[in-house]
Assembly symmetry: D2
C-alpha cells in the first residue's frame, strides 16, 4: 500500500507558503522527503520504479498540523467520566494515544502537538509511531503542563476522590504530574529551576507551563459564576522556566486564562500561547493585543461554530463560556488585526460513553472530538472572518514555524519531509474539501487511511463480555 518513491502529476498545488500555483504541478517524493516540485512536463521523472498518482482535478496541500491536542482525552478529566476512563484503560494508555493519533491521521492531520498528557505513555506511543511499528500522526509532546496537578487534583477533578481509592488516585496523579505538578507553585525560585532543568532531560519535544490556573470547578459546581483565575508562578519564576527551556534548546509554550497571564506570556516572547483568547471573559486590553501582533507571539484559538455555541448557550454552564461572549470578541479582534493565529483544538479521543450523553447537534459540532475538531475550527474561524488562505497556513506552516519545525514540516518545499494531502476539492473555496480526502502521504508513504484506526481501544462498543464467542449457546 506504500511505496518508496512517488510522483504526483497534474495537481493544483497549495504548497503552504501562501502561494497558489497557477498551473498543474508535479511533485516528486523520494526517501520520505520532497525531491522536486515543478510545473507539469517541465522536467523528467528522475527515477524508475516509481509509483505515480494522477492528480488531475485534485488539490494538494501540506499535511495538516494541530498545535494543541490531548491524545488521552483531557477534556473529560475536567469533569465527570475521568475515573472510569483512566481505570478502564490503565496499562494501555499508549494504545489509547495511538488510536487517537490514527484518528487524527485519518482526518488529515499528519502531525500533532500534544500539549498535555501522561508523559511516559505519550513517549511510548511517539516512539512506536516514529519507528513505524504502528500507524499514526507524528507526535510531538510536552508531557505535563509544568505547575499543574494531575487528573484528581484541584486542577482537574478533585471531586472524584471521595468515591475513589486513594491508591489509584495518587498513582494517576503521579503519572500525569511527572514530577512537575502543582507543588512547584509553592517552591522557591531556585528549587523550581532545578526541577525544570531535570524535566527538560526527559525527552520532551517542547515545554509547556501554566502561567495561570485551570479555572476548574468540579461537576457539582458547573453552574457557578465566573471565577477569577490565579497565577501559578511569579514573574521571577516564569523567567526562570523560560530561561531553562531556551538553554535546553526547546520551544516553550504557555497555558494562560487571564489577560494578565497573557500579557506575561507576550512579555516573555514564548513560542506559542494555548487558547490565548480565553481570559476569564475579560476583554484583552488593546495594548496587549498590539504587543502580541507586533512581537508575533503565536496564539492558538479554540473557537466554536455558531451552531455549537448556540447549543452550549442553551445548556449554560462553564462550557458555554469557553468560546463564547468576550472570548469570541477577543478572537474576532485578533483575526481583524491579522494576528499570529494557530489552529488547535484541545481535542482527544473522547469516550463513547460520554459522547452518548450529547445531543446530535453537539456531536457534530463539538470541537473536542478528534478527527472533526479541525473541520469545525475552519468553519468557526471562517464565521468570525478569517480568510481561507490564512486558515490553511494557521493549520500547516505557522504551527511548524511557532514550534521551530519549519526546516522539516509545514510546507511542500524541496527537502522537507513529505507530508501532504490530496483533496478532491479546493479547500480555499469550500471548507468541506478538507474532509474529502483522496490520499494521505506521510513521510513520503501513502497512508491506508481507510483502515484506521487499526485497533479500537477507546471507540469499540461495550457489552458485558468482551468476547462474544463465550456468550451464546
Amino acid at each position: 500500500m506504500t511505496t518508496a518513491s512517488l510522483i504526483i502529476t497534474g495537481c493544483n498545488l497549495i504548497d503552504g507558503t501562501g502561494a497558489f500555483a497557477d498551473r498543474p504541478m508535479t511533485i516528486w517524493i523520494d526517501k520520505g522527503r520532497f525531491g522536486g516540485i515543478w510545473p507539469d512536463g517541465q522536467r523528467e521523472v528522475p527515477v524508475k520504479d516509481i509509483r505515480a498518482i494522477d492528480g488531475r482535478g485534485k488539490h494538494v496541500i501540506p499535511g495538516l498540523i494541530n498545535s494543541n491536542v490531548h491524545l488521552l482525552d483531557g477534556i473529560m478529566m475536567m469533569g465527570h467520566g475521568g475515573v472510569e476512563y483512566l481505570a478502564r484503560f490503565e496499562g494501555r494508555y499508549h494504545e489509547v494515544i495511538e488510536e487517537a493519533a490514527q484518528i487524527a491521521l485519518k482526518a488529515g492531520m499528519t502531525t500533532v502537538f500534544d500539549t498535555w498528557n501522561a508523559l511516559e505513555p505519550v513517549k511510548l506511543a511517539r516512539k512506536r509511531i516514529n519507528e513505524g511499528r504502528v500507524a499514526g500522526a507524528r507526535i510531538f509532546c510536552a508531557g505535563n503542563i509544568v505547575g499543574m496537578g494531575g487528573p484528581f487534583s484541584g486542577d482537574f477533578c478533585l471531586e472524584c476522590r471521595p468515591t475513589m481509592s486513594k491508591t489509584f488516585a495518587d498513582r494517576s496523579d503521579k503519572l500525569f504530574e511527572a514530577g512537575v505538578g502543582r507543588r512547584l507553585s509553592a517552591l522557591p525560585p531556585e528549587e523550581v529551576r532545578a526541577i525544570v532543568r531535570d524535566y527538560l532531560t526527559k525527552e520532551i519535544d517542547f515545554l509547556k507551563f501554566a502561567i495561570s490556573d485551570h479555572i476548574v470547578i468540579g461537576p457539582s459546581y458547573q453552574s457557578l459564576g465566573p471565577i477569577g483565575p490565579y497565577l501559578t508562578f511569579s514573574e521571577r519564576v516564569q523567567r526562570i522556566i523560560v530561561e531553562e527551556t531556551r538553554r535546553a534548546g526547546l520551544p516553550v509554550v504557555t497555558h494562560t486564562t487571564s489577560v494578565e497571564s497573557l500579557q506575561s506570556a507576550i512579555d516573555l516572547e514564548v513560542d506559542a500561547m494555548m487558547h490565548c483568547t480565553i481570559t476569564g471573559q475579560v476583554p484583552i486590553p488593546q495594548s496587549t493585543l498590539e504587543d502580541m501582533v507586533r512581537k508575533c507571539v503565536w496564539g492558538e484559538i479554540q473557537p466554536s461554530t455558531e451552531k455549537y455555541q448556540k447549543a452550549l448557550d442553551k445548556k449554560g454552564g462553564r462550557w458555554a463560556k469557553s468560546a463564547g461572549g468576550v472570548h469570541r470578541e477577543n478572537a474576532i479582534r485578533l483575526i481583524q488585526a491579522d494576528g499570529p493565529i494557530l489552529m488547535g483544538t484541545d481535542a482527544g479521543c473522547t469516550d463513547p460513553d460520554i459522547l452518548a450523553e450529547l445531543s446530535e447537534e453537539e456531536l457534530d459540532e463539538r470541537s473536542f472530538t478528534l478527527g472533526k475538531d479541525h473541520l469545525n475550527w475552519f468553519v468557526a474561524m471562517s464565521q468570525m472572518g478569517m480568510k481561507p488562505m490564512a486558515m490553511l497556513l494557521a493549520a500547516t506552516r505557522d504551527v511548524a514555524k511557532a514550534y521551530g519545525k519549519l526546516d522539516d514540516l509545514g510546507t511542500i518545499e524541496v527537502g522537507k519531509i513529505a507530508d501532504l494531502l490530496i483533496l478532491n476539492g479546493n479547500p480555499l473555496q469550500d471548507l468541506k474539501a478538507y474532509a474529502n480526502i483522496d490520499t494521505i502521504v506521510k513521510d513520503g508513504l501513502i497512508v491506508d487511511h481507510q483502515a484506521l484506526p487499526t485497533k479500537q481501544v477507546v471507540t469499540k462498543s461495550r457489552f458485558w463480555c468482551d468476547d462474544p464467542s463465550l456468550v451464546e449457546s
Copy 2:
C-alpha cells in the same frame, strides 16, 4: 495432576455428619463420587489403575461450603472504589469471578453460594467451571437480590454518579439489576409476581430477595449515626415472592437488616437468612430468636474477630457497627441457643488498590477478603463460644442442607460428589489446621491448588504499561 479413581488410606475422617471416626479410614472415590468408605483394611480396593494417597497422620473433612459470597466484590460497591473497579474489568467480569472462585477453591472452599452478583457474568463463569474449562469452586448463584438497585443506585453508591458518565452508570445498574431492581418495591403485587416468575426462568440456582433495605449511605456520610432500615416489600408481596420461588422448586433466601424484617423471614420459613444478626443495632426479640430455632430457619452470621473488631472500633463509622455492639450480642445469643447457623462472609475478590489503604491488622483479620474469610469466621465464632464440630458442620453439611443440596454435597458419604480436604492437622483441635491443606479434591479430582489462580485479573500489580517489554530500551 488429576486422576479418575482415587483412594485415600489411613486417614482420620471427620465426615461432616457430626461423627468422628475412631479408627483410620479408607475412602474410595470413583467417577467423581464417593464409591466407598471403610475402616482401613476392612475391604479390598475395588479397582485397578487407581491413584492412592497415604492419609496417615492427616485429617479428612468435606470440602468447605461458603453460604454467602460475592465473587465480584460487593463490599467495595457500597463505598469508594466501585467506579474504578467496574470500569477496569468491564467486559471481563466473568474472569474476575473465575479468579475469585479459584482463590476460594485454593483455600478449601469447594462450593460457594454467590448471593449477589451480575447475573450473566456469574452464569458464564459457573458454566465454564462446571464444564471444566477453567478451575474454580463450584458456584451456585442468585444473580441480583430481588428488590435491590444496582451499584450506582441508592442501594449502593449513588454518590458516584456526579463524577461518572450516565451511560456507564446506567449500563452497570441495568446489568446488575437484571430486571428485578429497586423499582419492584413501587409496583403492585401482581406485577411483582409476573416479574419474579420471569426471573425464575433465568437459570438461577436460588432466589434471594430483600425484605429490608441496604442501609447504605455513601462515602461522605459514613460517620453519620444509625439510620432506621426500611422494608422493601410488604408482607403481601413477600408471600408472593416466596410462593413463586417454591413453585419453581428453588430455595429462597433473604436479605434483612432489622428485627422486623427478620421476623418476617422466619414467618415465611425461608431456606436461609443472610447476616441474620444485623438488625440495626436492635436486640433480636427473644420470641423471634426462639421462633428461628424452633422452626430451624438457617441464619448466616458474619462475625468479626476480636482483633478486627478492635481495629474497626478505633476507626469508627458504619463498618464498626456491622458486626459489633448489639449485633455481636445477637450472635452470641444465637450460638448459646444452639441456633441454626451457617458460615458465610460476603467476601469477594477485593481490588488491591483498596487493600493498599488498609492497615496490616485489617488486612489479616478482614472478613471480606476471600480465601482468608472463612478462617477468620472460625476464629471469630470460636471467640463467641461456638463449638469446633458445630462450626465445621456450619461450613459444610448445614449449608448444603439449607440450600437443598444435601443429596450431593456437604458430607463424605457414599454416593455424594467427592469434594474433600486432606488437612495436615486436626481442625477440631486447632483452627489453624483449616489453613494447612495437603490436598484438595473436588468432583473426585485432585486440584492443583498451588497453581491457583491460573490467571490474575484483579490481583496483578499495576504499572503504567501492561506490557513491560514495551517500556525498556
Copy 3:
C-alpha cells in the same frame, strides 16, 4: 374592628352542605357560633347592639379548610435552603408559624391542618392563636410524621450535614423528630407501640404516620431517575399504630408514596391519606381505587395547574414528577370516580430567598406558596374535571368530616363555629372569586385581614442591618 354579635343580610349563601340557597339569606352570628340562618325578612333580628353587614350581591361560603399544610415550610427542607431557614429562625419558629397562619387566614383559610412540623413550636403557635393573643388560622397539628427523620436526616436533606455543625444538625433533628423519628422503623412492634402511646399524650390533634418513605434524594441527585419507595413499617406495626391512635380517640392520617402503601392505608381505613395520587409514577390499580371510593377513605390531592406543570416539565427533575405524568392520571381517575377528595397543598411560608430563584411563572402558579396554594388547587382540579361544588366541599365540609371536626366546622349551620368568607363573586361560577374576599369571619369575629401578617418574620426584606436607623449618617 370586631364585634360580638353579627348579622349578614341579603347574601347568596353556599353553606357547604352541598345546597345552594335560592333566595337572599340572613346569617346571625352570636358568641362565636352561628345563631340562626333564614331567608331574608323571615325572622326578626334576635338582639340589639348588633353589627350588621349588607350582604347583597355577595356570596357567603364557609371558611376554607386546608387539610395539609406545613406552616414551617417543609418543602424547602427537602432540598437546598433548609440550613439557612432553620438557623435564621431558630428560637422563633413559633413566630414563623404564626406568620404563616396569618397568611393563610388572610387568604380565606380559617382552619389549617398542619401535618408535619416541629411539635413544640407549632403547639405554642396554636395556643397563642387559640387564646386570641395573635391572629391566625385555626391550627390543628400532628407534630412529626411518625417514622420520619428530621430535616437533616436521610428523609430530608442529609447532604446538608457536611457543611453544618453537628450540634445544630442534631438539635434540629431532635426537635422535629419529637421522639418518633426514623429510628422507629428499626424497632420491634411492642416498642413502637409504647413510643406511639407516649407520643399520643403530647397534645397533638391527630396522628400522622409514614407507611412508605419520603423518596428524597438531596440536591445533587435531583436529576436521577425514579427511585422505588420503601415501606417504613410492616403491616403488623401499621396496625399497632392505628390501634393506639383510635384508642386515644384521635384521627389518623398517612404519608404514602406507592401503590402498595396506599393499599395498606385503605385496608386500615385511616381517616385521610395525604398526596394519595403520588405513587412513584405507577398507576393506582383499579381495585385499589375502587376500594378507596367504596370505603370512602379520604385522599388529599396535590395537583399542578397546566401552566405550572409545563414550567416544571421544562426544568425536569423530581418536582416535575411530583404532580405530573401518571400521578396526574391517578388524580383524573379519582375525580372521574367521584372519589373522596380533600383540598391540601403541603404549602408553607417559603423563604423569599428561595422564591427569588423562581421564574415569574413558577411564582404565580407554584402550589407550595401559602396563600396562593388553594387558588392554584382550584384551578388545577378544575382543569382535570372536578366540579365547582365538589371542589368547594373538598375545601370545607369534607376536610372537617375526614378529621372528625364536622360538629364544629366545615359548614354554615346553626350551632357551628362561625367561620365564613364573604366573597365579591360567585366561586361556583368563577374560581377567581375565591381570591376576591370582602370579609373574613373567624370564630364569629371579623378579621382585619388587610393588616395581616401583623409581624413579618419570614417575609420581610433583608439587608445587612436589621435596623436601618443605625446605618445612615
Copy 4:
C-alpha cells in the same frame, strides 16, 4: 463606673518601650490621655476631684493590641458551620462584632486590627464603639482582603452552595467582597487600580490584599494532601495596589501563603504580613528571612501551643499543618533571628455549636477563640523561645508601630491615649499574669470588664424558643 481623671500610684510599670521602671510609679490620666508619669511622690497630683487607684503590688502594662482578628469568625467560614452562622446573625452582624470586641476588651485587648470582615457591619460597630454607644475594644478595620472572594466562593466554602439558596449565597458574597473580590485577579492592571482607588475612599483604616490564595478546600476534602498555593496578583498589579494605598496614606498589609508570595511582600516593604510563617510547608529561604529582618517588615505569627499541636496532629488534616511542621520551624528561625514579630491570632467569636464539637483540650488551647487567643499565643511563642519582654512588645508597641499608630497607642507615655491594664502579677515572670486582670483602662476610663459582654448575641445558649416565658404553663 468610669471617671474623667484618674491616678494610679505605687505600681510596677512596664511601659511598653522596652524599659522596666525600677521603682514604684505614679500614672496620671486626664481627658483620656496620659497626663504624666513619675516615680511615686516625685510630683503633686495635678488636679482635684480625681479617682485614685492604689497600684501597690500590681503591674501596669499598655493595653494589649491584637494585630489580626476577624471579629465575625472567619475561621468558621473556611469549613463547616458557615451557612448557619451567617444566616443566624444576618442583619445583626454588627452586634456579633460588638460582642466580639467586648470579649476582646474583657481579656485586656484594648485595640484590635480586624483584617477581614464584612465591611459595612464592621464599620458600624467601629463607629458605635468609638462614639461610646457600646463598649468594646477599639477597632481598626480593612473590610475585605483585596482579591479574595466571599464566604461562599472558592476562597472559603464553595461546597456550601449546593444546599443553599443562591440568593443568600450571592448576597453574602457581595457583602463580604465589598467590590474587591476574587474577580480582581482576572482584570487588567489599570482596572484593578481604579477599583482599589475607589475602595480606599470607603473609610477603611488600612488595606489588606492577597498576594497568594487561601489554600482552602471545603469540608469533604480536608484530608487531601498539601495543595500548592497560587498567586492572586502579578507583581505588576501588586505594585499598583501598594502604590495606591501609600498615596491614600494608609498602611498596607498582606495575606501570603507561600515563600514566593512572602518574598514579594518583603520586596514591596509592606507594613505587616499576616501569618508570615505559613508557607505551604516549605521552609522560608534563608535569604528571604534575612531580607525580612533587615528591612524590618513586620510579620504576624500564629503559633500553636505544644499541647494544642499535639491534639491537632492526632486528628490530622489541614489544621494540623497550619502551625505545625515546617511552619513551626519557620517561626522558631524567625524568633532566633530576632525578627520583627507581631502578636495576632485570626481569632473571632466562634459559634458555640462549633465549640461543642471540640474536645476539652482543644477548647482550652485553641488559638482561634477570642479572649483566650493571646494567652495561648504567649505560651506558644514562649515554648518556641521568644523572650517575655519581646512578646509584650509584640503585643503592644510593635503592632502600633507596624500600623502607624505609635503616636497614639502602644506604650504608656505622656500624651498618648490612656489604654492600660493593671495586672495582679508580673507578666514578664509568669504568663498567667496576663489573664489575672485587676483593672482595664481604655481611653482613660475604667472598663467594667466583669459586665462584658453586655449583650450575648453569639454566645447565648439555644433553645427552641428564644423567650422562655412563652413556653411554660
